[in-house]
Symmetry: C2
Subunit: 330 residues, 2 copies
C-alpha cells in the first residue's frame, strides 16, 4: 500500500503551455492571458463538437510550437474531454502521429492528465508528454442538459461551461514549473441529483482530495500560495471551504476557484464557469503566467469532475464526483 498521494522524485516539469478560449471567456481577468482568444466560438467549423475538437488540436499543436519541438519528439498525448466517447480528444489525437492515452475524469481531466503525464515522465517511461483537455459551452449544454435552440431558462445554481482548451507539456528536463506530487481522487457521492447544481455535487469530492493531500504531505494550507479548485463555482467554493473547515483544515485564506475567476460579469453564468476547459484554460494561461513571473510560487491544483451522464441522470442516479490534485512549484 503506497497511498493516494504519488510523489515525484525527479520533479517532472511543465516547460510550455498553450491555451485558447471563446469570446465570453476572454472578456474576463483570465482572458488577457489566453494565447489564442477566439472571436468566433464555432472556430470556423460547422458543428460545436468539431469546434471543440479543433480547439483541443490547436492547443496540442500550440504547446509543441511554444516548446519549439516537433511532433516526433513527443512520447505521448494524454487527453480526454466531456463528450461521449471523448471524441474531441480522440479525433484531435488523430491529427498527430503520437501514442495516445485517453482518460476520462469529466472536468477533473486537466489534473488527471497532468498526473498520468507526470508519472510517465517521472518513472522514466517518457521524455515529453502533452496533457490536454477542453470543453465547449454549446456541445456540453446539448449533451448534458437541453439543446440551446430550446432557449431553456437556466436556474441560479447553474454554471456556464467554458468554451476553451489548454495543454501543458510535461518534460523530464528544462526550465518550468516543477510537479511535486499528485493526489488521485476517490469517487465521492453525496446524493445530489440536480444536474444544474454541479458545484454542490463536486465540493465533497474536492474536500476529500484536499484533506487526503494535506493528511499525506503533513503540510499546512499556508504552504501553498493558492489552493485552486477546478470549477466548483461560487456556491461550490463556499461548500468546499465549509467541508474542509469542519475537518479542521482552514483553506479559506488561499482558496480560489477557476470557475469563480474566469468570468468578469456574472450575468448568465450565475455560479461561474465549469467544464473541463475551465481549469485547463486558467492553469495554462493565467496561473502559468503568474507562476513564471514569480508572483505565485506554489499551487495545489485540484480539478474537480462530475461523473454523470444524461443516461445515469435519466435513470434516477445521483451524481458521483471526483477530484485529483497536483502540487506544483516554481
Amino acid at each position: 500500500m503506497k497511498g493516494q498521494t504519488i510523489y515525484f522524485r525527479r520533479e517532472p516539469r511543465i516547460v510550455a503551455v498553450s491555451s485558447i478560449a471563446g469570446k465570453k471567456e476572454c472578456e474576463g481577468v483570465v482572458g488577457r492571458y489566453v494565447e489564442t482568444p477566439l472571436t468566433d466560438d464555432m472556430f470556423g467549423e460547422s458543428t460545436y463538437e468539431k469546434a471543440e475538437c479543433k480547439m483541443l488540436s490547436h492547443v496540442i499543436d500550440g504547446v509543441m510550437e511554444n516548446a519549439r519541438i516537433g511532433r516526433d519528439e513527443v512520447d505521448f498525448i494524454v487527453s480526454g474531454d466531456l463528450l461521449n466517447q471523448i471524441i474531441s480528444a480522440s479525433f484531435a489525437a488523430r491529427d498527430f502521429s503520437v501514442p495516445f492515452l485517453g482518460v476520462y475524469g469529466a472536468c477533473s481531466t486537466m489534473a488527471e492528465s497532468l498526473a498520468v503525464s507526470a508519472v510517465l515522465v517521472d518513472g522514466g517511461y517518457a521524455e515529453r508528454v502533452v496533457a490536454a483537455t477542453g470543453s465547449h459551452f454549446a456541445s456540453a449544454e446539448r449533451q448534458y442538459r437541453f439543446p440551446l435552440e430550446l432557449g431553456t431558462t437556466r436556474p441560479p445554481q447553474s454554471q456556464w461551461t467554458v468554451t476553451g482548451a489548454g495543454a501543458s507539456l510535461v518534460c523530464a528536463r528544462g526550465e518550468g514549473i516543477r510537479l511535486l506530487s499528485a493526489t488521485v481522487g476517490k469517487v465521492v457521492d453525496y446524493g445530489i441529483t440536480d444536474v444544474n447544481n454541479m458545484g454542490a455535487a463536486m465540493a465533497p469530492a474536492a474536500a476529500d482530495t484536499i484533506l487526503a493531500h494535506f493528511r499525506a504531505t503533513e503540510k499546512d494550507p499556508a504552504y501553498y500560495d493558492l489552493i485552486v479548485t477546478g470549477d466548483l463555482g461560487a456556491l461550490g467554493s463556499r461548500i468546499v471551504k465549509d467541508l474542509t473547515w469542519e475537518k479542521g483544515l482552514d483553506i479559506s485564506a488561499n482558496h480560489v476557484d477557476c470557475g469563480e475567476i474566469i468570468y468578469n460579469v456574472v450575468e448568465d453564468e450565475f455560479q461561474g464557469g465549469s467544464g473541463a476547459g475551465c481549469s485547463a484554460v486558467v492553469l495554462n494561461s493565467y496561473l502559468h503566467a503568474k507562476m513564471m513571473t514569480g508572483e505565485i510560487k506554489r499551487i495545489l491544483f485540484v480539478a474537480t469532475g462530475a461523473l454523470l451522464s444524461a443516461v445515469s441522470s435519466g435513470q434516477g442516479e445521483s451524481i458521483p464526483c471526483i477530484a485529483h490534485a497536483v502540487a506544483m512549484e516554481r
Copy 2:
C-alpha cells in the same frame, strides 16, 4: 524521446483475475473458464446500464477476494467502459473507497488500463492496482446503433458486443503473470464510416501497434505463443494478418482474436464478439487459466478500440481507432 514501447524493469505481475459473462458468452469454449457465468443478462437490475455497472463492480470485488486482500490494500482502480462518460466504471468505483483513474479507449480499455496499472506499479507509485473493464450487448446496441426494441436487422459484417467484464490485479510482488512491456497505440483512421464494420475499422490500428511493438523489441512473432487481438472478429482478423504481412511481418501462425473465439456458434454474431468486455473476459478467464497451467507461456495482448460516438458518426466522421499492446509471460 523514449518511444512508443514502455519496458517494465521490475516486471509487475497479474496475481489474480476475475471474470463474469452473460449466458450466450458462457456457451462458448471460453465460457467454461469464466468465474461467474450469468443466467440472467440483467443481473437482477432494472436497466442494461445498471447491469453493466454491477458486472464491473462484481469483478473488481472478485479480484480482491481472489487475491485475499481488502479494499484498503488496493492503491488504485484504473477502469473505463464504452458508455457515455464511462458511467459503468465511475459508478462501480463509487462502491469502493479506492483512488480511481478513469480511462477511455473503447474496446482497447483492458490493455490501456493494464498498461497504466503496470506503469504505476513498475514506477514504484503503487503496490496493487486493479485494471478492469466490461461491456453489455444491450447497452452498447442502443447507444451506438439502434434500441433492441426496434428489431433492426444486423448486417453480416457486424459483431456482437460481449456481455461481460474482467479485472486483473497488478502487483509489485507475488506469483503470477509477468508484464514485460506495453506499446501505446496511435490513433489510426483508414476512413471507414460503417458503424457495423468495426473489424475493418480497427484492423489498421492493430497492425500499426503490432508492427511498432516488433520494430521496437526486435523480436520475432514466433517469440510469442499467441498474438491476441481484442475484438477484430473474423473479417478484421483477416485484414490485420494481411496488413502486417504486407509490411514483412507474418503473424498468421500464432494470431488469435478474442472476438473470434468467444462465441461457439456463429449465428447472430456474424464476425464474432466485440466490446470492451470481449478481450477483458477472454484474458481474465481462458487466457489466464492457460497461462497458469503453463499451456501458454508468452502472449502479446493487443486490445483494439473504435473511438467513434453516435454524434461523430451522425456528423459524417469516419471511425478513428486505437490498439494498445501488453506483452506478458508466465
